[in-house]
């Protein structure tokens, strides 16, 4: 997003007033959270996926999760690259300036660009095993993900959207990569929850994002951190996440089929 030079920038170090009123607001939030019925940890939020919606890109996809995360992804098929060797996948991950719940961060801030670069690297990790790069020597495949609203599990939604966009662009793939996020609340004996919403993710003691190729049952990315436990805890979280990915797979496949049917109908008309 280009910087808007006409706006008054304001001081470099600006703190949102909500931070100073933090203690009162958080007490209210905690009461609400404890009062509400605890979420079923294995419940998947509703997922909406649609492929083939951008006319300018060769492939595109839009994924929306029930918690409010909206990701738009576009993919471009093989373009000739100058470097010899096998094909390369270039991923880009951008957050819209209005995506976060808190104060609007400056769009060009270094910390944000770092976070975007890290997310792009994670996206590439997740997609590389799925794409048949050996079929595109000396070529570059580009994928660009734009996070419109962050409602939790943003990276997982981006992985699913990017895989859908690549498939929509006609790139040869072994399988669709499906992303799923989990988190574990700070309470001592709490269990892992699938697809956390943004407040749950913020307060979480441990987070895990994984990407799976369901038809091959191969894990293409694991990224997790936080207060740990013995490996059995993380193994249980992985199993829960894999189950979540398998359950989301049919929705993504349906959206691809529908996009192909729409394209055929438009070509025939």
């Amino acid at each position: 997003m280009p910087l808007d030079h006409r706006r008054l920038r304001g001081p470099e170090e600006s703190q949102p007033p909500a931070l100073w009123a933090a203690t009162a607001a958080e007490d209210e939030e905690d009461e609400e959270g404890a009062g509400a019925a605890p979420r079923d940890p294995c419940a998947l939020r509703p997922l909406f996926a649609r492929a083939g919606l951008l006319s300018q890109a060769q492939g595109s996809a839009y994924v929306e999760l029930g918690s409010g995360t909206k990701v738009l992804c576009a993919a471009w098929g093989p373009r000739e690259a100058a470097e010899p060797g096998p094909g390369r996948l270039l991923c880009e991950f951008r957050r819209a300036p209005f995506a976060g719940r808190g104060a609007r961060g400056r769009p060009g801030a270094a910390a944000e660009r770092e976070a975007e670069r890290e997310a792009a690297a994670a996206l590439r990790e997740a997609l590389e095993p799925a794409v048949r790069l050996g079929r595109y020597p000396r070529a570059r495949l580009a994928v660009s993900a734009l996070l419109l609203q962050d409602g939790g599990s943003a990276l997982a939604a981006a992985v699913s959207a990017a895989a859908l966009a690549l498939a929509d662009a006609g790139v040869e793939m072994y399988d669709l990569a499906v992303g799923c996020a989990l988190c574990r609340p700070p309470a001592p004996a709490a269990s892992w929850m699938l697809q956390p919403a943004e407040p749950e993710e913020r307060r979480a003691a441990a987070r895990l994002t994984l990407a799976l190729l369901p038809a091959l049952n191969q894990v293409s990315a694991v990224l997790g951190g936080g207060r740990g436990g013995p490996p059995e805890d993380w193994a249980q979280a992985l199993r829960l996440g894999l189950d979540g990915c398998h359950r989301q797979y049919p929705v993504l496949r349906q959206s691809l089929l529908r996009a192909a049917q729409r394209r055929d109908a438009a070509a025939a008309a």
Partner: protein, 290 residues
């Protein structure tokens, strides 16, 4: 990462050997190479350490400086990581080295993101106003495979070696705060490293996984799992690297192996650090001449 070109026959040799639990240099799949750890090598820092793991050479320097605490955590200090790999091979100069450096720094941030790995509350001087910031600078002197493990060992050793001077905050009648350093140069606070995790990299080669892969073994492995383990065996972070995919069963096995190997690594490292500490000032310093 610095890469090595291997022929197909060499790759096959390594893969077949690993299936039989026999690696090129005679180690088993879960053995580390011979490691040398030395602390207090750089005198201008608050703490430093140098680790030589086979061919990999890492130098870590920690400087403790006063800063303002972060807004969300007003009563804690924090750590800042910076990794520099430019002195390595020619392909890591410039952009390549920068990318690898930020990648390693982000991994270190994630590994240390767990709240109780370092006692950050002990780094606070005045809530909301002053705190100690530990700037951890990592220099990759030579890359011989398995840099993440070596870096995490070096960071733990350097944190163990860090001495932060004790300060007192005196308040005037007008309310201006003055920071007073104690007169005794040996009067300092130490960082508690009991919960500091170490990274264990497990590379998948063929059907088995190996710990502490050399450059040649890294070239044969398609996927690796980076696990950070504390001394008590708790896993604090996980990341998969590489172009290949992993079977879920392999991931479970790798986590078990990582926990086992991590615990023994912590025991060995703590023993060496305690021995070095007990030698005190009479320790013969080897530095870069050994």
């Amino acid at each position: 990462m610095a890469s090595v070109v291997l022929s197909e026959a060499e790759k096959l040799y390594i893969v077949h050997g690993v299936q039989e639990d026999l690696r090129v240099d005679g180690r088993g799949c879960e053995d580390y190479r011979c490691a040398e750890v030395e602390t207090d090598v750089v005198s201008n820092t608050s703490g430093s350490a140098r680790v030589k793991l086979g061919e990999t050479d890492i130098l870590v320097g920690i400087k403790a400086e006063m800063g303002t605490p972060k807004l969300e955590k007003p009563d804690e200090g924090y750590l800042e990581f910076f990794v520099d790999c430019s002195s390595n091979s020619p392909e890591l100069e410039g952009r390549g080295g920068e990318e690898l450096g930020t990648d390693i720094a982000n991994t270190l941030y994630r590994v240390f993101s767990c709240e109780n790995s370092v006692d950050l509350k002990s780094l606070c001087i005045n809530p909301k106003e002053h705190c100690w910031v530990l700037y951890v600078d990592v220099l990759l002197l030579e890359c011989g495979g398995n840099i993440f493990d070596a870096i995490s060992i070096a960071v733990k050793a350097a944190l163990f070696n860090t001495r932060i001077p004790k300060v007192r905050v005196l308040e005037d009648e007008e309310g201006t705060k003055e920071i007073e350093l104690s007169d005794d140069p040996y009067d300092c606070i130490r960082v508690n490293v009991d919960e500091v995790p170490c990274i264990v990299t497990l590379s998948k080669i063929g059907y088995r996984h190996v710990v502490d892969a050399t450059l040649q073994e890294e070239a044969c492995s398609l996927a690796s799992l980076l696990i950070s383990v504390t001394s008590k065996g708790a896993i604090t972070s996980m990341k998969k690297v590489g172009k290949g995919s992993l079977d879920p069963e392999s991931i479970f096995e790798m986590m078990e192996t990582g926990q086992r190997v991590g615990k023994s690594l912590h025991i060995a490292l703590q023993k060496i650090l305690d021995e070095e500490e007990n030698l005190g000032t009479s320790r013969p310093k080897v530095g870069f001449l050994g």
